[in-house]
Amino acid sequence: MLELRPILSALWRHKVSALLIALQLGLTLAIVSNALVVIDERSERISRPTGLAVEDINSFSFLAIPEDYDKFEAFRLDLDMIRSLPGVASATISNHVPLSGSGSASGFYTEPNKETGGISANYYTVDEHFIDALGMKLTAGRGFSPEEVMQVGATSSERPTVAVVTQKFADEVFPEGNALGKAFFLGGDDHPIEVVGIVERNLGPWPNSSVAGRGVFYPAIMDQWFYYIVRAEPGQRDAVLKLVEEKLAERDPNRVINADTMEEQKAQQYASDNTMIKVLASVVILLTFIVALGIVGLTVFWITQRQKQIGVRRALGATRSAISRYFLLENLIIAVTGIALGAAAAQVFNGFLASEFNQPALPPIVTISCALFLLGVSLAAALVPALRAANISPATATRSV
């Protein structure tokens, strides 16, 4: 038996506290639903495929102490040594390490001597082992042969004639398709570079930038910028990290070795996303907890205040369940009011976030799920006090003053 109307008129006489709780619920809904959308967007961003064997890769660089250090010779000796070590699956040398936060980008054009209208992308110089060493997948064409790999010193002006690109680069620079065999140009230049291979994916050095995913690989080794990228056999990464670090120092003590795992570097790239997720998740949990406490508090307060009235209702024939139902229904009315207001507020708030902070739009399903969740929280919070109210003795009607 619904007794909505008398509950409403009784509530109306306590409208301020009822409205405060309703508003608290509504505000919680507005914040929680928007927070969840951001959390969802960020975690989706973090879990995007990188195209790389992130978990198995270490990178190493060194700082040579003597001025006239022959780096190209050192590269050759180091890489030969590294490739012979146990647990090493593959190794390459590159000007930058993907996901490291350090990289190079420039504009690319499909016609010579252009200055505007190009597409910017990250580029890497690598040796012939790069596909295997990075754990990428070649989807079309070929990689590089050892003979193609140039040595580019500080003064050399030799330029590559071939390149491997990522699928995303291929799709965006050559939207008509079939990039393989086509040529692209650097800005203001007429030197064609032919696409000889396409790899499935490489997120690049800055996964959160707009360039992310567009990558160009040249067959070249530079002595200005260099990192050894070493892929270990599965599960061997940490052992390989130590071993390579040791052996590099051992082979040539005249330098300072720096080593990193790709996993750590990736985590650093996503550090702010991870922090954002943690902060927002805490906010969601905290707000939900506070709103639940508020509801428990208000229900307990109202029941204490209306103890006599509950006794009278019992004396007049209310069953225990009728008493519990009364308070749950009252709670439901408040919750539904608050949540309806909150759902509207959530959309407004989202519109503001979307326009001012470029946050993703709030899909209705998220608002609805959050609304149902908060409705559940609200009822659960009211449940224990409501059940306890049913234990108030009907004799309260005659006993207390």
Binding site: M1, E3, P6, S9, A10, R13, H14, K308, Q309, V312, R313, R314, A315, L316, G317, A318, T319, R320, A322, S393, P394, A395, A397, T398, R399, V401
Partner: protein, 233 residues
């Protein structure tokens, strides 16, 4: 109508046990108007609470309307309270957040009557207690005597067989008390059995019969021939 035999009721706290009723036996006939008097703490309210199924006795037998009600569950007791018993309290006990109409509506909703039936009954009892014009008022907007009349209307709306009143005039001045008493007598004339606890000897005397409770037991029984000659111990 009401038959109690050797009813016992004791309250136990951590330290002491109070025997509020001891071997309490009483019969009230259909249509009777019984007044209950006795010193404070003698067990009058306890008796009324057990009679009205607000509390369960510790022991003994209680038959209401021929039915043994000593061992009913909470739901059955709630239903009996709702259908057969009307309560009037010293403090009126109207629900402050509800207007008079909605106050009288409370037991009728628990009864499950439809809206039309409830409205008909509420209008009828409001008319009987002379407060039809105040249906939309809140209890706080009424005098004590008017509030008690609303409480009586609420008790009557379900057409109970049995009306229990615990010092219904205790909070009223003598004029208001008299009005309430007249209303109760009128109700009794129409066939409702009434048991009324009171401290007022004049009112007690106006009942058909006065029983006195002393120390948890009925001390004396008088069947009055006429209210004026009823004897108070």
């Amino acid at each position: 109508m009401l038959k109690m035999h050797n009813i016992r009721k004791s309250y136990r706290t951590d330290t002491i046990e109070t025997h509020a009723l001891r071997d309490f036996s009483l019969e009230v006939d259909e249509g009777e108007f019984v007044s209950v008097t006795g010193p404070s703490g003698s067990g009058k309210t306890t008796f009324l609470n057990i009679a009205g199924l607000l509390e369960t006795p510790t022991g003994g037998e209680y038959r209401l309307d021929g039915e043994d009600v000593s061992n009913l569950n909470d739901r059955q007791r709630s239903r009996l309270r709702n259908e057969k018993i009307g309560f009037i309290f010293q403090g009126f006990n109207l629900i402050p957040d509800l207007n008079l109409f909605d106050n009288i509506d409370v037991p009728l909703r628990y009864r499950g009557f439809n809206a039309k039936e409830r409205k008909k009954r509420i209008e009828k009892v409001l008319d009987q207690v002379g407060l039809s014009a105040r249906a939309k008022h809140l209890p706080a907007q009424l005098s004590g005597g008017q509030q008690q009349r609303v409480a009586i209307a609420r008790a009557l709306a379900g057409e109970p067989r049995f009306l229990l009143a615990d010092e219904p005039t205790g909070n009223l001045d003598s004029l208001m008390a008299r009005q309430v008493m007249e209303l109760l007598e009128f109700i009794n004339e129409w066939g409702t059995t009434i048991v009324m606890v009171t401290h007022d000897p004049d009112l007690a005397r106006r009942a058909h019969r006065n029983i006195q409770i002393v120390d948890g037991q009925v001390s004396d029984l008088h069947r009055a021939t006429a209210p004026a000659t009823a004897e108070i111990a």
